[in-house]
């Protein structure tokens, strides 16, 4: 009698549990949280490679992964709310770009893995103790932007040999940019260039910077690598063109929007490579043991039309190194 009762109880339990199963199946698909600095449209050329990278590794949106996008629209103060949103959706891994976003995620969670794409100086900013052994929950790719800012200035000097006064646009709220600005100052010192330091962090700040530049009349404008400037690239480049300001920037997007030149790693490629980290983490790898990768290839993009409009002749030593020339 007791055996039968037990059997009936088990049957009942199974029947009750059955409705839960389909739901469980749906919950099984891992979720990836993407924290974007700008908007989907403005960063489409970076998201695309990221999605391609995932596809190449066999991930299909909706079938075996689900990507949640949260966009800050250029306002970094949104980060905490957006991150909370992602964490509430129980994402298995967060992907983001830029130092401010990475630091915001690092503050919000110590357990959910984070793949950082294009962070300028993760060790210098205390995000990871070392590139080879990141330790905590953060790994990804560094854009080594602080190492390259000096080089960019050097390139600028080669194009405009007599240059003495350069405006530098940087994000004062970003700890990376603080470091970067210092590096630029150092390099400028070596190259004999005076720096007009324009630290901003809002649209209004950028407008103010514009006014300052109109007043000071620098000979060139260097835009440092911060997603804020990517977000506002159209306005910034328009201003640079209008005011005949050449520049060697980090983002090629600025060159595509009318800037003169860019020298830096391939950010699209780094987004693509981020998929590899996501894959490893989803398959159970510990981010603490995945070394942070540095870029190995660097691209020099020159906008010849902009050069013409600025009345500049690009010297042979620079042309030699160009990896891409845009008309």
């Amino acid at each position: 009698m007791t055996k039968r009762k037990l059997l009936m109880f088990l049957c009942g339990a199974v029947l009750l549990a059955l409705p839960m199963f389909p739901a469980a199946a749906a919950d099984d698909i891992p979720r990836i949280g993407f924290l974007g600095n700008s908007t989907a449209e403005l960063e489409a050329h970076l998201i695309g490679p990221f999605q391609e990278g995932l596809r190449d590794l066999g991930y299909v949106e909706g079938q075996n992964i689900h990507i949640e996008y949260q966009w800050a629209q250029g306002d970094y103060s949104q980060f905490p709310d957006l991150i909370r949103e992602l964490l509430a959706r129980k994402v298995a891994v967060i992907v983001t770009a830029g130092t401010p976003a990475t630091l915001a995620v690092k503050k919000a969670t110590k357990t959910v893995p984070l793949v950082m794409v294009a962070v300028g100086n993760p060790v210098g900013n205390g995000i990871v103790p070392s590139l080879k052994q990141p330790g905590g929950n953060i790994t990804g790719l560094t854009s080594i932007s602080t190492e390259m800012d000096g080089k960019r200035l050097e390139l600028l000097k080669e194009i405009v040999p007599n240059i003495t006064h350069v405006a530098v646009l940087w994000n004062s709220k970003s700890p990376l940019q603080v470091l970067a600005e210092k590096k630029v100052q150092e390099a400028a010192g070596v190259l004999g260039i005076e720096v007009l330091s324009l630290g901003v962090n809002t649209k209004e700040g950028i407008d103010e910077a514009f006014n300052l530049m109109k007043d000071s009349r620098p000979e060139a404008l260097l835009v440092l690598a911060d997603r804020l400037f990517l977000h506002h690239r159209v306005e910034i480049m328009k201003f640079a063109a209008q005011n005949r300001l050449p520049g060697v920037h980090a983002y090629r997007e600025l060159v595509e929007t009318g800037g003169l030149m860019s020298y830096g790693p391939d950010y699209a490629d780094m987004h693509r490579r981020a998929a590899y980290f996501v894959d490893r983490i989803l398959k159970g790898a510990d981010p603490a043991g995945l070394p942070v990768e540095r870029p190995a290839r660097f691209h020099l993009v020159i906008n010849m039309t902009a050069a013409q409009e600025l009345g500049l002749t690009i010297p042979e030593t620079v042309l030699l190194r160009a990896t891409e020339i845009i008309e």
Binding site: L131, I144, L191, P291, V292, R294, A296, F298, L320
Partner: protein
């Protein structure tokens, strides 16, 4: 019955013993063959697979080594292009060199930095992708092997070192040719080697990696192992490969060894000279041999299936062998139990059928001999044993049919027995008869007489039929004499007891008709005819102790007997008067 039980038990065990023996034998044989074949096949398959896999892996390793070699040679040759500066007539050789270096950077993305050190060991030009270019720094390289070694040997590869804890690098320096002897040093980012290695596809979980001459891991799909400065100098995989390269060069095929993560792997390698690096291509044994394991399992299943089939077949075969033998045994048992009319039916068309036929023939012969024995014992009622045997072996037909033969008939009986038996005790009469017939029987047997019939004290016997007897008259006479002697002794004994009996014999010779007389079940073989009557009447006429013979008997036995004629008498049933010849004695006996 206990005996039966043991028999049945013995029956079943011996049946299953033979059956078991054969089925075990056949299935064992087939199984051994299958297993042997399977094992041999598997062994050779294993060797072939191992060889094939090692070769494939070796090809991959060689290809990878060649690619890395090309990579390095490319850099060298491109660096070479920057060394023509001294030959160019330019205003500023330094500027020219910088341009050449920049061009090099454009064409060789693997080079991160390139520097020119003059003959005195001072750096003249330093161009970098990342840091600011430095012109005429004068940095002193005199003690640096990058300068020293290159100056002496012409080319120098530094040991692999790490930048930013994150990237493996190699310094490659070349010496100028010609008049101005300086050194060009390039810092090469080995991430490109890592790219190459990562792309090599080795099954599902196999991989390729590169180790430098000191055993340091310098490229591996899992870069963290490289950055962790993994040292493989003690690993068996590395030491074996290095030894193989030293001794066999390009011929080294590879081996099964312990891989980097401790698992058994199939490892092939190729050397990159002059760097002294080794490219390894390894795949886990489990994965590499997976198809072989599949084959093994398939073979095992086929063998298992084969064994099952062979067991079934052996059971069938054994049954086919054992059943006829079983039938034979049962048949023999039945025959032994006495059922002689049973036939053993085996139709296998082979020796067993022949054996069964032999058995049946034997049974038939047995039956025949039993029948004969019965017949003999039957005949022994009529004839002497020898006669009976003789009759049995000859054709029986002749006996049942009536026929004519010349015979000598002898009648004898006890005088006054009838009177005696009517007044005496039955037991006493029987005893007398018993003694009488014992005595008579002895002589009948001795002389091989055929008993016609006997009733009470009267006996009729004859000679020369069915057993031929040449001197049948003489035999009869001789027998009569001995009978008289024997019975005389009995008569003496009986008279002492007060029994007054006598004995008389009548013998006649002539033709008679002989055959079976009687009912269907019981019959006599006897004679009828005048000779019989004559003998009978003569016996009646004989007084106690007398033997009366007929004329014919006398004629036949003239030399043997002495007779006294007692005249002629007319006997009942006979037409003429018959001379009564009384035997007085045998001529041999009397003096």
């Amino acid at each position: 019955m206990v005996g039966d039980e043991t028999d049945t038990a013995r029956n079943t065990t011996s049946k299953s013993r033979l059956f078991r023996k054969y089925s075990v034998l056949i299935s064992t044989l087939v199984s051994v063959v299958l297993i042997t074949a399977g094992t041999v096949e598997t062994y050779f398959s294993y060797q072939e697979t191992k060889l094939a896999l090692l070769q494939i892996q070796r090809e991959k390793a060689i290809a990878a080594a060649a690619a890395i070699d090309r990579f390095v040679k490319e850099i060298e040759s491109q660096m070479g292009w920057t060394m023509h500066t001294p030959y160019l007539r330019v205003a500023s050789p330094l500027k020219q060199r910088r341009i050449d270096f920049l061009r090099l950077l454009r064409q060789a993305p693997q080079i991160t930095e390139i520097a020119y050190i003059d003959v005195h060991g001072r750096e003249q030009m330093h161009v970098s992708r990342l840091s600011l270019d430095v012109v005429e720094s004068g940095k002193d390289y005199r003690d640096d092997p990058k300068f020293q070694k290159t100056l002496s040997e012409g080319r120098y590869f530094s040991p692999v070192y790490f930048r930013h804890d994150s990237e493996p690098y190699l310094s490659l320096s070349l010496r100028d040719r010609g008049r101005e002897v300086g050194v060009t040093v390039a810092e090469v980012n080995l991430k490109f080697v890592w790219d190459l290695i990562s792309q090599i596809n080795v099954g599902r979980s196999g991989r390729a990696f590169v180790v430098d001459s000191s055993g340091l891991l310098i490229a591996h799909p899992d870069i963290s192992l490289v950055l962790g400065k993994t040292d493989l100098s003690e690993a068996r995989q590395f030491t074996t490969a290095r030894a193989a390269v030293r001794s066999q060069g390009r011929m080294a095929l590879g081996s099964i060894t312990e891989g980097m993560d401790g698992r058994e792997v199939l490892s092939s390698h190729a050397a990159i000279l002059p760097l002294g690096w080794l490219v390894f291509v390894e795949s886990p044994l489990v994965e590499a041999f997976a198809p072989l394991y599949d084959t093994l399992i398939r073979t095992a299943m086929v063998i298992a299936g084969g064994i099952v089939l062979s067991v079934l077949a052996s059971l069938l075969l054994a049954r086919r062998i054992v059943r006829p033998i079983q039938a034979l045994r049962e048949g023999a048992g039945r025959i032994g139990a006495g059922a002689l009319d049973q036939r053993i039916e085996i139709k296998t068309g082979d020796e067993l059928e022949a054996l069964a036929d032999e058995f049946n023939e034997m049974t038939a012969k047995l039956r025949q001999s039993y029948d004969n024995v019965e017949r003999v014992s039957a005949l022994k009622r009529y004839f002497s044993p020898q006669l009976a045997e003789l009759i049995v072996s000859s054709d029986e037909g002749g006996l049942t049919e009536s026929h004519r033969s010349e015979i000598t008939v002898l009648f004898c009986d006890l005088r006054k027995f009838t009177e005696f038996s009517s007044i005496a005790e039955p037991e006493e009469a029987m005893r007398v008869l018993e003694q009488y017939y014992v005595a008579l029987g002895r002589q009948l047997r001795e002389f091989e007489a055929t008993i016609g019939h006997f009733a009470g004290d009267g006996l009729m016997a004859f000679f020369n039929d069915p057993l031929p007897c040449p001197d049948h008259a003489a035999q009869a006479v001789k027998m009569a004499v001995v009978m008289r002697e024997d019975v005389d002794q009995l008569l003496e004994g009986w008279s002492k007891r007060g029994l007054d009996l006598g004995f008389g014999i009548g013998i006649a010779t002539g033709y008679a008709t002989l055959g079976h007389i009687g009912t269907e079940d019981q019959f006599h073989y006897t004679a009828i005819g005048s000779v019989v009557n004559l003998a009978s009447r003569l016996c009646d006429e004989a007084k106690s102790g007398e033997i009366l013979i007929s004329e014919t008997v006398h004629a036949e036995t003239e030399n043997l007997v002495r007779v006294e004629l007692e005249g002629e008498r007319l006997l009942k049933g006979l037409p003429k008067a018959v001379p009564i010849l009384k035997m007085v004695g045998l001529q041999q006996i009397d003096g």
